[in-house]
């Protein structure tokens, strides 16, 4: 009880805290005064100081004040600040939450502020993720997708050469076979795992961004819309309002069992996290995002590594989406805040940031101008996004769906019965999705 009271008080204090930007006194250069826009962002994430400095250089009468929180606290903080009288002008939030925030009236639709041609230039998965009821709430600051990284030094003696072309991507059966061959030790004495444990979310199995793909890949978007194959592929009703029959049909249950077998039958990956398992040569393969390329390039792990497209079962699919910038609906400076978001997401600043970070832009024109994105290994991520990338199932209640399904997949990986657990997840999610 004390704990809940503490949260309530923290919320009260936060709701009265001054986050909103303010305009300073007039100066010779800025007769209307220097406007300070406030940005709430997760620690160690963009917009970087270099991006802010570049934008301030182009906008002499505006300043950006960055307020940072640990990523794990970001959603809670936004939820609390959303109700405040003076929230920040701009938030860097997790992209799949766009519909939740838009439906709650937290975010400002950016359509009136978008220059001509920008909307058409945005890659489709980003548009799908950041559009709600026809309005665009963020152009997307960056994109990501997952691929399979491998330790080439470990695979070479085994004669295993993973494909580099998305058209020749492995199936998961082929990938698991390679992982079994590469794994050293078995039972309780594994020294090198076939596949590293997930480093996403809480570091346990089940995180939707990574592990729901094992289920969705069992589906087929070309199947009849009322079929299990179709529903499994989308994993949530297309309007985001129903999970019943979409995550717990026979095909989806089969997919969840396939996922669980990696832990309990093939035993090629552990149930608990091992920090830096791939870099420390405790795993032959790991599933990670495009930024991992930069990480391995800048911090040489001491072995040859490579990237292969994410394997699939029936249909190739990768989840897209990343953190992104949006304007708070309560901002008192919507024009200026929207300008910042659009400039750093779509213009030269976005291109400079993409080159520096090796990140994947959301603008097709920027991607076309960066030669490194057309070359191995980053071309794999770009090709995947363009050809079969989809956002995590969009819904005004994605956050709740994410928690419920992640917990279910975690339990299934730990050994719970897939049908029982997915039925429970559908029961838990259904009333929330229909609110």
């Amino acid at each position: 009880m004390l704990r809940l009271s503490t949260y309530a008080v923290a919320a009260t204090l936060l709701s009265t805290a001054a986050f909103a930007g303010e305009r300073g006194p007039p100066t010779a250069e800025c007769p209307q005064g220097v406007l300070t826009l406030t940005v709430l962002k997760p620690l160690n994430n963009p917009p970087t100081p270099a991006v802010v400095k570049a934008w301030e250089g182009q906008n002499k009468c505006m300043r950006i004040e960055l307020n940072e929180v640990p990523f794990a606290q970001l959603a809670d903080k936004i939820a609390v600040l959303a109700a405040a009288a003076n929230p920040p002008d701009i938030v860097m939030y997790d992209g799949p939450y766009t519909q939740s925030y838009a439906a709650a009236g937290i975010l400002l639709a950016l359509d009136p502020y978008l220059p001509a041609g920008v909307r058409e230039d945005i890659v489709q998965p980003t548009l799908d993720e950041h559009t709600y009821q026809g309005k665009l709430y963020s152009p997307g600051t960056q994109q990501t997708s997952l691929a399979l990284f491998y330790n080439a030094d470990m695979l070479a003696p085994l004669g295993i050469q993973p494909p580099r072309d998305v058209d020749k991507a492995w199936t998961w059966d082929q990938a698991i076979d390679a992982m079994k061959k590469c794994q050293k030790g078995e039972g309780d004495n594994v020294t090198v795992w076939g596949l590293a444990p997930s480093r996403f979310g809480a570091g346990t199995p089940g995180f939707v961004y990574r592990d729901l793909l094992f289920v969705r890949s069992h589906g087929d978007p070309k199947a009849a819309p009322d079929s299990d194959l179709y529903k499994t592929y989308w994993a949530l009703a297309r309007d985001g309002r129903s999970a019943q029959g979409w995550i717990n049909n026979a095909v989806a249950i089969g997919g969840a069992k396939y996922f669980a077998d990696m832990f309990n039958v093939a035993k090629i990956t552990p149930k608990a996290g091992i920090p830096n398992a791939f870099q420390d040569r405790k795993a032959c393969f790991t599933i990670d995002v495009s930024y991992f390329v930069s990480g391995l390039t800048n911090n040489d792990p001491g072995f040859k590594w490579g990237v292969t497209p994410l394997p699939y079962v029936r249909t190739p699919i990768v989840h897209t989406g990343s953190i992104t910038l949006g304007v708070m609906a309560k901002s008192k400076h919507p024009v200026e805040a929207a300008k910042f978001v659009i400039d750093v997401s779509t213009g030269q600043i976005a291109e400079d940031y993409a080159r520096a970070s090796r990140g994947l832009p959301t603008m097709k024109s920027i991607t076309a101008r960066i030669s490194e994105l057309k070359e191995y290994p980053l071309n794999i991520f770009v090709d995947q996004i363009e050809r079969y990338g989809h956002p995590r199932p969009p819904s005004p209640n994605f956050a709740q769906y994410d928690k419920i399904v992640s917990d279910a997949l975690r339990d299934i990986a730990y050994g719970s019965d897939a049908k029982t657990r997915l039925d429970t997840a559908a029961r838990q999610a259904q009333p929330i999705l229909q609110r």
């Binding site: 309530a8 109700a83 975690r410 730990y414 050994g415 719970s416």
Partner: protein
């Protein structure tokens, strides 16, 4: 006391008591009233202004919802497990520390150390210890040729694992309480029992335990309340899983309000939980007073 004196007296009272009273009202009672009000509404934290009055709807949901019922059950089993293990272990250690035995100071420090360590640090440390693949506990068991455990990834072992962690953490505090109780027992009573022919076990059974009844009930109350408030183990170690077997009510309230965006239902769970905890505490306190009067 003249009028000016009374005024000075009450001004002094106001200066010393006022700030605390104001803080108490602001940080304890206002949130409780807000919680009672919120429990009658359905809304989201993302937009709390859009709320609909559901009267006792959240309470009815709570009664019918198997997940909420499981959270209450898990919490009470956990509290019982902690109390049932901490009391005998801490009592035994207190008896040891109360004697003139070797390494007493070291043992006292070692036993008390977990009490002053952050519960989040402890939960993180035990997560590594209980790792089924690379954890220290399983490695030690393997070295001894014993079977490994699944611990936090097993729905039958997760709750007992956390109870063991809590036993390790809370034993020091309970031991200190028992120790203070033991040191309050007049030495001549034990001497008299010894003269009457009582052995060590009989002296504990017929002298120490009855005289420690008040301390014991106090420790039971404290441990029960601590256990019912458990939050960090769910948040840091298990996320409430597997299959809700470590979904303590305090964590359930947090998840409902902040992750599932159902603060109305979370408030209803809080109200019911508050009533239950208060009832348990009142019963235990009544027993405490009764024992103290004997």
């Amino acid at each position: 006391m003249d009028a000016a004196g009374k005024l000075r007296h009450w001004a002094t009272v106001a200066v010393f008591v006022g700030p605390f009273l104001g803080m108490l009202i602001l940080f304890q009672y206002v949130p409780v009233v807000a919680m009672l009000r919120d429990s009658l509404y359905d809304f989201s934290l993302l937009n709390p202004d859009r709320r609909s009055f559901v009267a006792l709807g959240n309470y009815l949901t709570l009664l019918e919802d198997p997940d909420r019922q499981q959270a209450f059950l898990v919490t009470f089993v956990f509290a019982f497990g902690v109390v049932a293990t901490v009391i005998p272990v801490s009592f035994a250690i207190a008896i040891y520390l109360n004697g003139r035995l070797p390494a007493r100071a070291i043992v006292r420090t070692v036993v008390f150390l977990p009490v002053v360590t952050s519960v989040v640090v402890i939960a993180t440390m035990w997560t590594f210890l209980l790792d089924p693949s690379n954890g220290l506990i399983n490695n030690a068991l393997a070295t001894l040729g014993l079977p490994r455990g699944e611990y936090l990834t097993s729905k039958s072992q997760a709750l007992p694992s956390i109870i063991v962690m809590m036993l390790w953490q809370q034993t020091g505090f309970a031991t200190v309480l028992f120790l203070s109780g033991l040191q309050g027992i007049p030495r001549d009573l034990e001497d008299a029992a010894r003269v009457d022919g009582c052995g060590p076990w009989q002296r504990v059974r017929f002298v120490v335990i009855p005289l420690l009844a008040r301390t014991t009930v106090f420790v039971v109350v404290i441990m029960t309340v601590f256990s019912l408030q458990a939050f960090a183990p769910s948040l840091v170690m298990t996320g409430g899983g597997p299959e809700g077997t470590t979904n303590f009510v305090a964590y359930d309230i947090y998840a409902l309000a902040f992750q599932l965006q159902m603060p109305g239902l979370a408030s209803a769970v809080s109200v019911v939980f508050m009533v239950i905890v208060l009832t348990i505490s009142l019963i235990q306190m009544r027993v405490l007073r009764a024992k103290g009067a004997e």
